[in-house]
Amino acid sequence: MALTDPARPRQVSNVSTALARNRLGVPAVVFFVMAAAAPLTVVAGSATTGFAVTEFIGIAVAYLAVAVILAVFAVGYIAMSRRVVNAGAFYTYVAHGLGRIPGVGAAFVAVVAYNAMQISIYGAFGVVAATVLEVTFGWQVAWWVCALAAWLLVAVLGVRRVDLNGYVLGVLLVAEIAVAVVFDIVLLTHPADGQVSFAALAPGLLLSAGAVALLVGGIAGFAGFEMTAVFSEEAKDPQRTVPRATYLAIGIIGVLYGVSAWAMTVAAGPDRIVQAARDQGTELFFNLAAPHVPAALIDLGHLLFLTSLFAALLAFHNTVSRYLFALGREQVLPGRLGRTSRRTGAPKLGSLLQSATAAAVLILYAAAGWDPITHLFFWGGIGGGLGILILMAATSIAVVGFFARHRHGEPVLRRLIAPVLAALILTATLVVTVAEFGELLNIPNSSPVRWAFPAAYATAIVLGVGWALILRTARRSVYAAIGLGADSSTAAIRLSPTGTAQPDLIPGPAFTKTSPR
């Protein structure tokens, strides 16, 4: 049976056809990504809390600005995602673009950041669930009881590797967006002083230092959009599907957040929104719409708000446990983290660790009597956003570094101009954010609390870099596999015959992404 039989008819590859059947199109990828974004969590939770804590009406325009920044960031990010294995996790980009040592630092930052995001959401979930229970059944339940109930469920689902089904998430997502859009229309058609004010959308609002720092809150609301890159291996057409899905997701999310925040200022009045947000908290979005829509729709909104928060809790929980798993597989963290439960395939130890961390924080907050919204939901969300901002700034620099060494025929816009622009904007935002962090949390800049998160990330970076340096001298095979995640098991076969690692982590032929070139 000759393989080059000239009589063999030109045929389509059976294997490619079979695999193509399972590939994802643009809508599927957008759904996957947006489901993790949980729109109502941001619109009803983060935006209202943002008004109350920062006393700044420019939240609306900040969300739109973040969408634009993320779109610029995504240009280089997506171009690079096609070239690296284990795409989707920011630290792999840093490891490939800037080297393994900063890569481990970035990985540690990511673990702290996603943990902060996840745990912060328990605050909002607890309060909203307690409110719903009181309004519906008249039960008086402390927020932390509800939060711990959600914690238990997340802990069990995480260990058993139960993800919310894609269709369930899709239906919830569409319902959430529908409710938000209906509320937005209602709010915009019932302005406070009889006329629609565009005050909250004025770009000039972004010119102050405090406003720049506010972008970090916006970035927290988009967390998870980086996951589009995960699908580059499974997309129908990696050259088109992933970029389109990413920009579409950023666009939809950005407009939804921006318009919803703006609609709230219109309905409450730009001069009264801060006070209203302080008085009504996460109920504001619903209260503003309540006089003009049927009560059933408000109830549905509350229910979807809860499911949205819960979906976000589970999504971030899984993100953390999978990060720990990938790092365990690389043996950067103890190898036990890289093992999965035999029967369920869940990253058991990572999941348990995340749950334990969350439980410790929740118990601390309950015991100390700290405010679940301001001190947990908002501070934690901003703290997580700061970590993501650090990762994004480092990633955009890594993209520049990566393409400086491997041109790969990418146009200059994608490999240089957009990533440099993104790096400049994100780094500047990062510097201003750290400088204004106290302002952002609404505590005096002299208070030591304002340094808690910046210090935590600095520690994570120092620990990560230090650990990477130790690995470089003590465990060279582990060092060589940094940034490969679960693929690290294939690192050994990539070692050159002399036993030294190849100079970079560019995938060999076996790992080349399926790019039709």
Binding site: M1, A2, L3, Q11, S13, N14, V15, A18, L19, N22, F32, N86, G88, A89, R161, D163, N165, G166, M227, V230, F231, E233, E234, N318, R322, F325, A326, R329, G338, R339, T340, S341, R342, R343, T344, G345, P347, G485, A486, D487, S488, S489, T490, A492, I493, G508, P509, A510, F511, T512
Partner: protein
């Protein structure tokens, strides 16, 4: 045959229930099917690509023959990972078909309200079904030499998370683990590549957020 033995590793010897999660079993069976062709000298694995060996002689077994033909029919050489993905899709069915034909398992559908909810493949002879586990567990526990077929099988167990199950009764688990590591360092380069890709595929399926 390798895939039959991996199937027996991955399923309970009496009930036929899965011992690992279904995705891992799928990747393991796919790798075992490629392993059969590799150890029979019908394919080569180099630089992450699967090649048909020359002269191209198809194997006698019908399932292996079918897979061999699929590999030979492709105009381009695909990566190990591509073949694993491709075979993990219907590898399970291929192997169960072979086991049913040989009279090793029988299909048992669990029905409720006239709908088949799940299908298990119940071993006909418990001794045959339990033998691969016993063989590997004894070998690892007592650190006796294993043939290359069993070393590869142990490698698949490690890649799919079954290794801890195999050494669960060992007096000195660390010794057993160390011996397994030693055994795996002895496999040929192509087989090592196949095992590494299996391990990575099982891990990646988790990292990439799929259920």
């Amino acid at each position: 045959m390798l895939a039959d033995d991996f199937f027996r590793l991955a399923h309970d010897d009496t009930s036929g229930e899965l011992r690992v999660h279904a995705q891992a079993a799928g990747w393991g069976l796919a790798a075992a099917l490629l392993g059969e062709l590799l150890y029979a000298g019908r394919i080569r694995i180099a630089d992450g690509l699967v090649h048909v060996a020359h002269p191209a002689v198809p194997p006698a077994d019908a399932v292996a023959h079918g897979i061999f033909d699929q590999i030979a029919a492709e105009r381009t050489r695909h990566t190990v990972r591509t073949w694993l993905t491709f075979l993990s899709d219907d590898g399970y069915e291929q192997v169960t078909t072979r086991l049913i034909r040989a009279g090793h398992v029988r299909r048992k559908a669990s029905r409720f309200l006239f709908v088949t909810w799940s299908t298990t493949y119940v071993p006909v002879d418990m001794k045959t079904a339990a033998w691969p586990v016993v063989r590997l567990a004894m070998g690892l526990r007592q650190r006796t030499p294993l043939d290359e077929h069993d070393v590869f099988l142990a490698g698949l167990a490690e890649a799919t998370g079954l290794d801890e199950y195999l050494i669960r009764d060992a007096d000195h688990r660390d010794w057993a683990r160390g011996y397994l590591r030693h055994l795996l360092s002895t496999v040929s380069a192509p087989a090592a590549e196949l095992l590494a890709h299996t391990r990575a595929a099982v891990g990646n399926a988790l990292v990439a957020h799929h259920t």
